[in-house]
Every structure is written in structure tokens, then in C-alpha cells.
Symmetry: C2
Subunit: 421 residues, 2 copies
């Protein structure tokens, strides 16, 4: 980077980071994208990896493939460890990277709210590895239960699957597990499927807080119709890998707890010399600069934006995407010496969640009415396909979803990373 | 299995084991298929996993999905550890399984011919995990080389890829790596691709021993045209992870050695109370019974069949497949009290290997002439698609191959299991 053009370093190749790099690729600047992976992950479909619908490479796109025509963009595969704002360098496990302007778009990780036992024994779902662990574990539980023909308690514990968290991820995961089990039914001639149970646990009195009451009720109704036991206002207090303990004193014997109950900023964000909120996110000005900085911008899940809103903006892709656009424009202004920065205003694009094949909920926005059922599922499908990175990914995923919709088949039901113990 | 029908235990769900289980599924017997995985792996395409063409679930098919309609077939997911022929039980890490008749179809593993250093540092390619390790490692080498802009020796060592073994697997792997690198070229703006080299090393004076001299010469010519340095009559003596040492005194600085130079029977075969050959395979009678046994049959890569042939039959799918048919018929005879067992006669179906997209070699048989080039590649493609397990697999793989043929794109270029060190 022995170049006199401004050096822009972007940490994180999620929705915000990739968008920012694409915008800068057209400008007279040098861009260094830093990520610990070599791919952009389409996180909203991670639950489909965990339930054997899709394969990893179908929702992960090589970062460099975005920038084939852009010689001013390079990738540095490394773990970010912090920022030294005084010296204007990003710290990584492969050395320091100097920047003129920095965009932190490093995303979020699972929030266990300090419960170490839960962190140790439950399954998070923020990375491909974690999603594959869930897939392998759930499938393996059936094989193990099949070997315990004379021990009902052990079998039931192995065949009880608990999802914690009533947000879109938890809902989608619980729905997809139900359908996975429908397929398993056809293939385990010696398992009594009355012993299988799927539970969704939510700490607050409601699922999908961003949706209307009608959509929430509909969601719970559909899940219950599929056989999911939904427990609202139910808090988890601990888990030892065999028994999940609840605040009301009840306990659930289970070997599978999938934790989709909350997120926080990735840990290195605490080491960037900026003020953070309770969830570890950097508090940003209206122009997306980290409070007190004049060259470090923060966007997406690791930014805490609270201007004109009661609570920080939600950790969803459209926020990151829109913030990337404003952060880029503001950096280009600063490069030109214009200190009159633009303020960010979030345009809510609505929210959606699938509850299984052929069934989804979409909330009302200025652009569309409230939707449920097959129509909502079609809307969900088209929007997700549209946002996916490559043409071929769109094609193979469409094919798999159609196949899955019509036949219920899951092709990914292979246990790849568990050595039989 | 508290059932009076004969209990048939099959170890291994490869080509031979699945074929045998399918044949017995129609008979009045109980079948227990034992495998350490829950899937049948289409091994001939493993090299496509390792070079980011296909994804694991595309060549791995859930075993139970074959036997949905067959309640007399069950899977026991466990590691076989040996056989106690006197007590008629298979020993596994999940306990003993009694049998009336046993078919050992447990397959082969990589043979490092006693070279511990090679075993420790090189990459084998017999399992999905191993193929994914190769993929992750090769892709990661480019990212690491990209970070060493001021150290040419290190960079060259990272960008030198050595494949050992001139059989079909080695040829296919070397050809596919070449093409992978053509794609990488477009995306690493700061790497000089003259520093990249791919070497194929074979200990004997020839590649593809089962093919005619014309096909061998053609194969070497095509590989060299793609940029592979082919070294015949070249033996490896050791590898420390950084330098590959050859018997002629030369050494090659490389961080990537892919070992496709030989196979041997899986280790537990030594613990089955039967006589084995140099490659650890059980020596079988003409009727496929283990020498000296009257109820243990051995088929496929772990059987050593030398009746009327100079060398044991090759470790390829058609042998396992045809042996499964004879072993099944012989077991059914024994069940009926008929001791007049059928002898096995191998019908050679020919051999084929791809050398990259649009290029393959097919040797002459009674059914077809010798083929090279695009026609051979089409034959290769159709035969492999035909043999794949599921309709949907055939569909998505056809799509990917077409896409790859036309655009050269590789979708699986994501590094999933390496923590950035």
C-alpha cells in the first residue's frame, strides 16, 4: 500500500462491509477489507444449514469474487484485535494495518447474558461452523437414540430439542427442525416418534417483537400446529448439557439447546478506544462516526445508533446496508475536506420470518400490506434469492427450495464432523 | 433383533455394502448395516470436494434414505473394531453385534508405506473431512502468500502444490488444482502467478497403469499442457511439512503434499481372525469366504482376491459391486443349506479418468473403443451421474458441472475450518 491515495480499511465482510467496499471500489482510494474468513456469509439463511436444507458454499460467497475488476480492493484474512486511534492503525493477529479512514463493520456474536453453563453446553448459531455443529448433533441424536432401545429416559432426552429465543432466528430454526423430523420419521423404523419433542422458549411474553400482535399470534399458532411446544415468559437460568433449568423451577431433560436469544458486538470492539453500550456496541454520532473520533466510522451490528429512536436500531441487514452508504459518503466528504457530514436516517423496510416450508409472516410497511401463509413465504423467498450474491447460488438454491417444497426432501442429512464416540 | 430370521451384518456402507444390503432387503432376513458414518460416500468424486467444485452433501447420501421401504434393514452407526469368529460377533465401540452371516465391506484407507513423516504432514484423500482439509488448506495458502509480499521463498513454498501418485485420483486432483488456480488468478491482484507451481510425482515409470501406453502419453501431455510438472520414476522418502525429500536426493520446498499414492485395508481388518496380504486385505476363497471361514464373506477394497489373476483385483467400485452380488447369492445358498457355492469372476468394465473440464481418458473394453478428449469426458460425466445415488444430486451436480464447464467458476472456494493462525 505504498500509494498516496487515501487508505480505507474496512473490518468485516458482512452486509455492511461488502456494501462499503463496493462503493469505494469505484473511487480513487485504496481499500483493505479485513475479515477472519475468506467469504461473505448470508447469515439470514444460516438456520437452513443447521437443518440440512442448504450446504455451506450455497450461502457463503468468496469475498474476492466481488472485486475481480477492482484492483484497488484487497482482502487481508486476519482476526482484528483492536484499534489504536492515536497511531491510526488496526491491530490484527497478522500485524498492524495503517488507515486514513476506518469502517468497523465487524458484526455480532451470540449473547449468553453471562450464563457460562449455557455458553459452554448450548449451540450458538452465528457461524457456518456452529450451524454445522447443530446439524451434525441433531442428526447424531437420532442415531444415538436408536441404539438405546431399552432406556426410554435416555432416548427421550436425546430426542428433545429446545430452541431458546422467539425472534426470527428461533422461529425459523424451530419450524425447520419440525420438518426435518418429519423426514426422519420415514427412516427410523425402530424409533417411536411420540418420544420426540421440540420446544421453543422465549423469556418475554411475546415472539417476534417487531411484528403486529396478529402476526405473533399467527406464528405461535402455526408453530403449535407443527408440534412445537411454545413457552412464553419463560427464562433459562442454567444448562449442564443434560438438563435445562428454568427460572420458574421447572427443568427439561435435553441434550440439545440451540441458543438464539440474543446478540452482542464481537469482543474486539471493546478494544477500539471507543465508548460502548450494554451490548458492547460502539455508540455512534448521527453521522456514524464513533463518538469523539473524526475518522473511525461504525456500522451494522457493532454500532449503537440511538438518535431519534427509543432503542438502538435493530441488528438486521438493511440497517448495516443503509449505514454503509452514509458512512461512505461521509468519508468521501472528509477526503475532499468537507466537514459538513450527512446524518443517518433509517428507512424501515419491514421484517419477515418463515415458519417452515410454504409458511411465513411479513409485517406491514409503506410498500406492502401485512402478509401470512404461502404468499408471505413467496415474498420471503424472492427477497432472499434477490439478495444472494451469485447467479449460480440463486439457481441451485431455488432448485433445492422447490425440491424441498414439493418433496420434503433434505439432502444435507449427513454427519460430517462427529467422530463416533 | 429378537427375530428368528437369519441375521446378516454388513460392515461398511460403500459401493459393496450398500449393494449387498439392497439385495438382502428383498429377502426374508434381518440386515444390520454398520458404518462409522450415516452416509454413503461417492468416493470417485471426492477430488471435486477437495478442489471446490462440489459440496460434501452432493456426493454423500444418507444411508437410511436407501432403506425407507425396508423395515428389515437398520443402520448401526459405530466403529467396527474386530470380529470374534468363534463367538460369531462383530466387535464395535458401541458393543457386540451377533451375526449369522457377516459381510466385511469396510473399504480402504491411505497407505503411506510406513513413512511416518509423510503420514503426519501430507494430506490423504479418503474421507470428506480429508477432502475439506485439502480445500481449506490450498485456498488458505493463497491468502497467506498474499500477506508475504516481501518474502519470495516463503511465498513460493506456499504456492507449490505437490500431488503424489499417478493413478486416477492423483491425475484428477492435479488437473482440478490447475483449473482452480486459473480462477484464483483473476482474484489475487498482488500475487505473481509465475510463482505458482503444481507437481505430480509418481514412483513408477508410468501413470495410469491400467491404461494403454497411448492413453498414458496423452494424459501426461494434457497435464503438462495445463502447466503440471510431471515427474515419473520419482520416489518420495520424507516430508517435514516444509520440504519434500526425494530418493534421488532432490528436495522440493512446499507446504502442500497431497498423498494419492496407495491404499491399504482399514486397520480393524487385521483384528478379524483372518489371514491378510501385504496391504492388510483379507485373503478370500473363490467363493468370497474368508479363507477358513464358513460364514464370513469379504468384498471390495478389504478383500484380496487372487484366483486366476496375477495380482489381487483392483480396489475399484465395480469389483466391490460385482462381489456383493456373488456374496449375497452365496449367503442365500448357505441359508437354504446348499453348500455348493458360486465362484466369483470379475467382469472388467474398463477404467476412466478425467484430467480437467472437458478432457478425460477411457480405456478400451469389449463395450467401447479407446476414447480421449471431450467425448471421453462426456462418457465419464454420464457414467458418474448415472451411478450417483439421488435424483436431486444428479440434477444439482449436472448444473454445477455445466456451469463449471462454461464459466470456469468454482463456487465452493470458502475456507471453513481453519482458524486464522
Amino acid at each position: 500500500m505504498a500509494n498516496s491515495r487515501p487508505h480505507i480499511v474496512i473490518v468485516g465482510a458482512g452486509f455492511g462491509g461488502i456494501k462499503a467496499a463496493k462503493l469505494f471500489a469505484r473511487e480513487n482510494v485504496e481499500v483493505m477489507l479485513v475479515d477472519r474468513h475468506n467469504f461473505h456469509l448470508f447469515q439470514p439463511l444460516l438456520y437452513q444449514i443447521s437443518t440440512a436444507i442448504l450446504d455451506p458454499a450455497e450461502i457463503a460467497y468468496p469475498i474476492r469474487a466481488f472485486f475481480r475488476e477492482n484492483k484497488n480492493v484487497d482482502l487481508f484474512m486476519a482476526k482484528a484485535q483492536g484499534v489504536d486511534q492515536a497511531r491510526q492503525v488496526l491491530l490484527t493477529n497478522h500485524g498492524e494495518i495503517p488507515y486514513d479512514y476506518l469502517i468497523l463493520a465487524a458484526g455480532a456474536t451470540t449473547n449468553y447474558f453471562g450464563m457460562e453453563s449455557v455458553e459452554k453446553y448450548s449451540y450458538g448459531m452465528k457461524t457456518i461452523q456452529e450451524a454445522l455443529h447443530i446439524r451434525n448433533h441433531v442428526l447424531h441424536m437420532f442415531e444415538r437414540a436408536n441404539k438405546h432401545q431399552d432406556d426410554e429416559a435416555t432416548r427421550r432426552r436425546m430426542l428433545t430439542f429446545v430452541v431458546v429465543g422467539g425472534g426470527p432466528t428461533g422461529i425459523e430454526e424451530a419450524g425447520a427442525i419440525c420438518e426435518l423430523i418429519e423426514i426422519q420419521k420415514k427412516e427410523y423404523h425402530n424409533i417411536d416418534f411420540n418420544e420426540v419433542s421440540i420446544k421453543l422458549i422465549e423469556a418475554t411474553p411475546t415472539v417476534l417483537p417487531m411484528m403486529s400482535q396478529r402476526l405473533r399470534d399467527h406464528t405461535v399458532e402455526v408453530l403449535r400446529g407443527k408440534g412445537v411446544e411454545v413457552s412464553l415468559s419463560t427464562q433459562v437460568v442454567g444448562y449442564d448439557g443434560k438438563t435445562l433449568n428454568l427460572k420458574d423451577g421447572r427443568s427439561i431433560p435435553t441434550q440439545t439447546v440451540i441458543w438464539a436469544a440474543g446478540v452482542k458486538a464481537v469482543p474486539f470492539i471493546a478494544n477500539c478506544g471507543a465508548e460502548v453500550d450494554r451490548a458492547g456496541r460502539i455508540i455512534v454520532e448521527e453521522n456514524l462516526l464513533a463518538k469523539g473520533s473524526d475518522r473511525v466510522f461504525v456500522i451494522g451490528d457493532c454500532a449503537s445508533f440511538c438518535h431519534g429512536t427509543e432503542r438502538p436500531l435493530p441488528t438486521v441487514a438493511p440497517v448495516a446496508y443503509q449505514e454503509a452508504e452514509v458512512a461512505c459518503r461521509n468519508i468521501l466528504k472528509l477526503i475532499k475536506g468537507d466537514k459538513n457530514l450527512e446524518s443517518f436516517h433509517y428507512k424501515d423496510m419491514g421484517a419477515m420470518a418463515t415458519i417452515g416450508r410454504g409458511e411465513a409472516v411479513v409485517n406491514k410497511t409503506s410498500m406492502n400490506p401485512e402478509l401470512t401463509g404461502f404468499l408471505a413465504w413467496c415474498a420471503w423467498m424472492f427477497i432472499h434469492l434477490y439478495r444472494l450474491a451469485g447467479t449460480h447460488m440463486k439457481l441451485t438454491i431455488s432448485l433445492k427450495w422447490m425440491w424441498n417444497l414439493l418433496s420434503g426432501t433434505r439432502l444435507g442429512r449427513i454427519v460430517t464432523n462427529i467422530e463416533v464416540e
